[in-house]
């Protein structure tokens, strides 16, 4: 296939979900079955095209990047800035091709699952419309070759996340969670935006390839390496928000208020992976310091997520914190320089985490049905303490769930083992190269914890005895549309699709296709180069594998010992470490901290401004008004008494003189004569004296 065809297919993949969204949002309700078949077939068509593109790319254009640029706006010469032209475009390289498949595949399976899970929902067609919009947005991020278009897609997925988390917006907790997700993402996006601005101001272009060229030729932002590091860290802020890294991870657990398929699609497989994808895209311009920051943040996030997950009882919350932890892993991998491992883990995690969420959806769906039958409307269908023994009633769900759990725990023969192994090896190499041994330490610790809490989840949900024997009778397996995606994803969680060698992650086609790009950063600031890294990696690989197998085994053993064989009492353990337990159950009190500092801070500021507005501004306005009223009052009185008084007194005087002078009109001629003679005498005297 020619390059143009490939690019056309890529554009088609991009626009198919958008078309589905447009149709669904306007006429969806009137279509038969509210149009779910329209959305699902559109995304499946996109999946087929994506597979074709991946195959063609990897076989024919393995080392190339196929790009399609277009000028969006050309302002020509702008006084004071110079020539201003914004060029946008799409590009398909190996990373993009892989991501295309991941996004369309998970989206397609979620569409299919939703036709069963969301059956009878009050806003059925709108849900599918938003799924289509989300797919389009995510594909925009993946296909963009410039920061501008990437940012557009970035914000769009944020909106879709808000809309889908708040799908059942009548529930206050759901609408609150939607707002929280959007606002917390926004905080990260602020840093992202400033980073983009720094890069644009320096290089006058949004195109990534041109920016890399610029840096490679030695042109640093504002001529200083600090600014380059700062730009890198700021751009990473976007990933911190989107991928729920510490400290902006607080929105992800609350996002579980949305429908479970949404959690699967957005909050497990794709949107949260956008952050990882961003870091992978921007890898060439990261300095060693920036990468160090990224690695640490990833490690800390992984640790926090895992520790909280062990103490949670809601099935979706456990998976949410597990997601946070695994995202931390991916970010950490990119930070230490294990680029391909990070991307690999992104792909494998998407598969098994989506599967885990869909599986939990299946469980919740069954629990809902059972509780409805037994008329227990107060029991939480998502609480694992209400479950147990579901294995017999839901075999498909159970076995697929086990496969996912094995994958996430890093048990051999799964895809998860391959990718996690690569990451852990990478951290060891990093620790050895740079001396930051904390990172591999955390990595292995979290691996163990992951195995523990995931198997805890499986045991409590599916194994043992169900708490209420009456209820279990009404639990049954989910319909085909829900179990088929589970099976597909379970299959994709096995090693076969990724590498021929079940123990050799390095020989995976993904790892070989998505190679670590050359850093464009000046050598003095760059992390150890790929070559050096590879060499050290090879040395520590064996050690890493052994260690990872050991910690995974320990974790699984501990889980069974505590929850299945009941040799160790979880409750006694929790009671003995009550403060620590409380700390973990309450999610390290992050929400409370943010509430007190940020939320109350903003509210206090709002109250202060309201005070200013009421007293100072309104006071000024009211004062002006009062002043005007007083002035007009005084003026009125002045008018009444002084002016009118003057006029009235004039009239009064006239009347008075008239009254007086009236006396002269006696009607007697002789009086007139008297006055006439008097007048003559007056004149005489005047002339005499003058």
């Amino acid at each position: 296939m020619t390059q143009d065809t490939l690019l056309t297919f890529a554009l088609a993949i991009l626009l198919l979900p958008l078309a589905a969204f447009a149709v669904m949002i306007f006429v969806g309700k009137r279509l038969p079955r509210q149009g779910d078949w329209l959305s699902t077939s559109a995304i499946f068509a996109a999946l087929v095209l994506a597979l074709t593109v991946l195959y063609a790319k990897l076989t024919q254009y393995h080392a190339d990047t196929l790009a399609l640029n277009f000028t969006w706006i050309d302002f020509h010469e702008v006084p004071g800035i110079g020539p201003l032209r914004i060029v946008l475009g799409f590009a398909v390289d190996n990373l993009t091709a892989v991501m295309l498949v991941v996004v369309t595949l998970i989206s397609a399976l979620v569409h299919l699952f939703s036709t069963g899970y969301m059956k009878g929902d009050v806003r059925y067609s709108r849900y599918f419309a938003y799924l289509g919009l989300f797919s389009f947005s995510m594909l925009t991020i993946v296909l963009a070759n410039n920061l501008f278009l990437l940012y557009v897609g970035w914000e769009l997925v944020g909106i879709c996340s808000y809309l889908l988390i708040g799908h059942w917006y009548e529930k206050k907790s759901a609408s609150d969670a939607a707002i929280k997700a959007f606002v917390v993402n926004r905080v990260g996006d602020l840093g992202f935006f400033i980073g983009i601005a720094i890069l644009y101001m320096t290089f006058r272009t949004f195109s990534l390839s041109e920016i890399f060229e610029g840096i490679r030729s030695g042109h640093l932002p504002y001529g200083s390496q600090w600014w380059l590091t700062a730009a890198g860290v700021l751009l990473f802020c976007g990933a911190v928000g989107k991928s729920a890294q510490f400290p902006l991870h607080v929105w992800l657990p609350d996002a579980m208020e949305g429908p479970t398929p949404v959690s699967a699609l957005i909050h497990a497989a794709t949107m949260v992976a956008a952050g990882v994808y961003l870091v992978a895209r921007l890898f060439p311009l990261m300095t060693a310091d920036a990468l160090l920051v990224i690695a640490y943040i990833g490690a800390i996030t992984a640790f926090i997520g895992a520790t909280i997950a062990i103490a949670q009882n809601d099935i979706k919350k456990v998976l949410a914190y597990s997601t946070i932890s695994q995202l931390g892993y991916m970010i950490m991998a990119l930070g230490v320089g294990a680029y391909s491992a990070g991307v690999f883990h992104l792909v494998t995690h998407a598969m098994f985490k989506a599967g885990l969420f869909l599986g939990s959806g299946s469980v919740i769906h069954a629990m809902h049905g059972a509780l409805h039958h037994t008329h227990e409307h107060d029991t939480d269908p998502q609480d694992i303490r209400n479950m147990g023994g579901l294995r017999a009633k839901m075999p498909v769900t159970f076995w697929t769930f086990v496969v996912y759990t094995l994958a996430i725990s890093g048990v051999p023969l799964t895809s998860g083992f391959l990718s996690k192994d690569e990451i852990l090896a990478g951290t060891l190499a990093f620790g050895g190269l740079t001396g930051h041994v904390v990172i591999p330490l955390i990595g292995f610790l979290v691996a163990g914890l992951t195995a523990f809490y995931m198997f805890r989840l499986v045991i409590l949900t599916f194994l043992g005895e169900h708490k209420a024997s009456g209820r279990i009778e009404h639990v049954h397996e989910s319909p085909l549309v829900m179990t088929v995606p589970l099976l597909v994803l379970a299959g994709l969680s096995l090693f076969i699709f990724y590498s021929v060698n079940p123990f050799g992650g390095g020989s995976s086609w993904i790892v070989r296709s998505v190679e670590r790009p050359e850093s464009t950063v000046p050598a003095a600031l760059a992390a150890p180069s790929a070559g050096v890294f590879e060499e050290v990696l090879g040395n520590v690989h064996g050690t890493a594998m052994l260690l990872s197998l050991a910690v995974a085994g320990l974790g699984i053993l501990a889980a069974f010992a505590t929850y299945y064989w009941k040799k160790i009492s979880a409750d006694a353990f929790a009671r003995s470490l009550a403060p620590l337990h409380r700390f973990l159950v309450n999610k390290w009190y992050f929400d409370e901290l943010y509430n007190a500092v940020v939320v109350n801070g903003v509210l206090a500021l709002a109250a202060l401004l309201r005070w200013v507005d009421t007293w100072i501004i309104d006071g000024a306005v009211n004062g002006a008004g009062s002043l005007t009223r007083v002035t007009s009052f005084v003026s009125g009185k002045f008018d009444t008494y002084v002016v009118d008084g003057f006029v009235n007194s004039t009239a009064y005087l006239s009347g008075f003189f008239g009254l007086v002078l009236r006396k002269f009109q006696t009607g007697r001629v002789q009086t007139y004569v008297l006055f006439a003679v008097l007048g003559v005498m007056v004149f005489y005297f005047i002339f005499r004296l003058v």
């Binding site: 007697r668 002789q670 009086t671 008297l674 003679v677 008097l678 005498m681 005489y684 005297f685």
Partner: protein
Amino acid sequence: MQLFDIAFYVFALITIISACIVVFSKNIIYAAFSLLFTFFGVAALYVLLHADFLAVTQVLIYVGGILVLLLFGVMLTNNVISVDMKTGTIQTIPALILVAIVAGSLAGLCYSTWKGVAEPAAGGPQTTTATLGQMLMTSYVIPFEIASVVLLVALIGAAMTARRHRNS
């Protein structure tokens, strides 16, 4: 000139006293007759001033005409029951004050001529009639004619005004 002075003083006194009676008398008939003596006194003064024609004219017209007319008026406008007809004054005080002022001013004026001309002009015709007649017909002919017209108008006007109006 002694006789002249004495004559002057006598006739001046007659004139002034008569005039005072005219003005201050309550009885209107007394006032009218005093006016007669005033006119005569003035005529005598005219003679002393060598205005013989005027003296006679004064007597003729003033006494014979105007005084008679005034008497007619008195008789016609009062209920003549007795000779004693009383009449009063109004606004006496203001009039007296004014008159005092007037008199004072005039007296002051007169004083200023005290040192002036003393002797009358010498010469002149014994009688003035011819001279006056000539002057009237030559220098003062227009005023003379107008005076005749005025008399005519007065005649007609008086006749018109005073006639008894018939009720129609």
